[in-house]
Symmetry: C2
Subunit: 314 residues, 2 copies
């Protein structure tokens, strides 16, 4: 899809550089997740949890945490805050993974394919899928509060607060409730935006803010990063809706065309395909503007991630 922004957008990271950065951190995150999600959890629960999280997904949320940490680290190292950011990166991915497990269940979207594999309830049964999701949510908060660690208490508490707020009734779970109530209902653009702002936007924005919590920031920087996270979150959903129409299931690794089949409102059904593409571009510009407003100098990875979100084809 052609939503590439013109070369006048200021960002100084090439696509290859972003690949190198991403590949490095994806390996670090995967290793941490694999090490921290114990296969020892009783009665097969650990297997279901690992199946839900490992070897799959684009890990956008962890990458956002780590890129935001980079932006507020100002080029300096701090082992405790680096650890906090890695833990936060893994924690948001656990929340994302649990939400997919529950969302795929028969009483919700009843989806059988996810990341090219059978969904957790297909593989392990509904009851185990329910428990695995519940346990993954708890584990996210365990990740953020290690018993013996140099991570300052204030950072631990702030990370828990940001994650809980992003995931809960005023964030992701609230958005899912609106989604549930909106099948077959004609939403206007404001209502659709509110649904997505909560359902996917809150955790994406939360990822950025959790990364930002792992460093020194000014109110101006925090406000710009928040605006970046909001624009990115919305852009992500608009592109998701576009891909649901134009991509096929094999490329997506999940069932394509589900939204139309379920009579769910989308940006494409509301705005039309071309208008939706142009909306995604304007959100990208907004995200990059917001980054410039932070006054931070190490925001090039965040900028490149926003471009990739809008230009992705899966």
């Amino acid at each position: 899809m052609d939503t590439h922004v013109s070369a006048s957008m200021p960002h100084d990271m090439t696509s290859t550089e972003l690949d190198q950065w991403s590949n490095h951190w994806l390996a670090v995150v995967e290793e941490a997740l694999s090490g921290w999600i114990s296969p020892q959890a009783p009665a097969g629960l650990g297997d279901a949890m690992r199946y839900a999280v490992l070897d799959g997904g684009k890990r956008l949320r962890p990458l956002l945490v780590l890129a935001a940490r980079e932006a507020v680290a100002h080029g300096s190292k701090d082992a405790a805050l680096d650890e906090a950011a890695l833990r936060a990166a893994c924690a948001v991915e656990l929340i994302h993974a649990y939400s997919l497990v529950h969302d795929d269940m028969p009483c919700m979207d009843n989806d059988v394919l996810r990341r090219g594999k059978p969904t957790v309830h297909v593989q392990f049964g509904e009851a185990q899928a329910l428990l695995a999701g519940d346990a993954l949510q708890a584990l996210a908060f365990e990740f953020l509060t290690p018993e013996s660690s140099a991570i300052p208490d204030g950072v631990q508490a702030r990370l828990c607060r940001l994650l809980a707020t992003s995931a809960g009734h005023a964030g992701m779970a609230g958005g899912q409730a609106i989604d549930l109530a909106s099948v077959g209902v004609a939403l206007n653009e404001d209502q659709l935006r509110q649904m997505h702002r909560l359902k996917t936007g809150a955790l994406l924005e939360g990822s950025v803010m959790m990364g930002a919590a792992c460093g020194e920031t000014t109110p101006q920087a925090l406000s710009g990063l928040k605006r970046y996270g909001q624009a990115l979150g919305l852009a992500f959903q608009v592109v998701d809706d576009i891909l649901d129409v134009i991509a096929d299931s094999a490329t997506l690794g999940k069932t394509a065309g589900k939204d139309a089949a379920n009579d769910k409102p989308t940006y494409v059904s509301l705005l039309g395909l071309e208008e939706a593409k142009s909306y995604a571009q304007s959100l990208l510009r907004e995200a990059l503007d917001a980054l410039r407003s932070t006054g931070l100098t190490h925001t090039h990875t965040l900028a490149a991630l926003a471009e990739r979100v809008v230009n992705r084809n899966t």
Copy 2:
């Protein structure tokens, strides 16, 4: 049921005094829960969350938090730590309530009656019940990490850690997974104890330890309180199994005789009714011994709560 311990057990709180203490705190907890669980959550989610939590249950876990706080407050007041304990009391109740909502769902126990009311999925549908449970878990961690508060960061982080560990794969959720795998399976007493130690014991013990985190303690006191929580947690489950056999649904406010009907192993099926009653008494003695070993002087409410857990008939 006659599991009353002999008068030689040292505790100096009468049943009436415990009633007064409980009634005071139950009202405080109910008001806090009602104020903090917003009915404004989108698309009916707030209604389902409030339905799941308010106006029901014995609130044993919150009372344990508050009694443990009392034990480590040494008779002195501290507004920030008192607030921490109230927040912790409400948070453990949210975790307990979410676990009941999910446990009652058709793919788990498929129960239609809880606390004398239709279960959440019967009242609001399965998808909303799933989301309400998820949102309640997130809200518990939000309760523990208020943005503007005098509660020390270290206490906030420690409360999150204790709650996440008690609720997750190595606690409540892990116990539920064992329970799931044990239907129709002949467990021995060790395996049954391990299941209950996680499924109900972990959160009861966690409640005591969260209360203990809201004050100054010695390692000796913490170790005694932990032992108290473990004995109490196990006693609670043994008595639950006894009541499932001897009480009726109207008294319990939930379906009685379910365990036998579902071919689930219980302490009564394993030990016989009389032996199970005597085991509950020995666990009570162990809990009271553990309290004496703490060296704390304000443990009379914890002692009275343990007696009530064993002597309850609902």
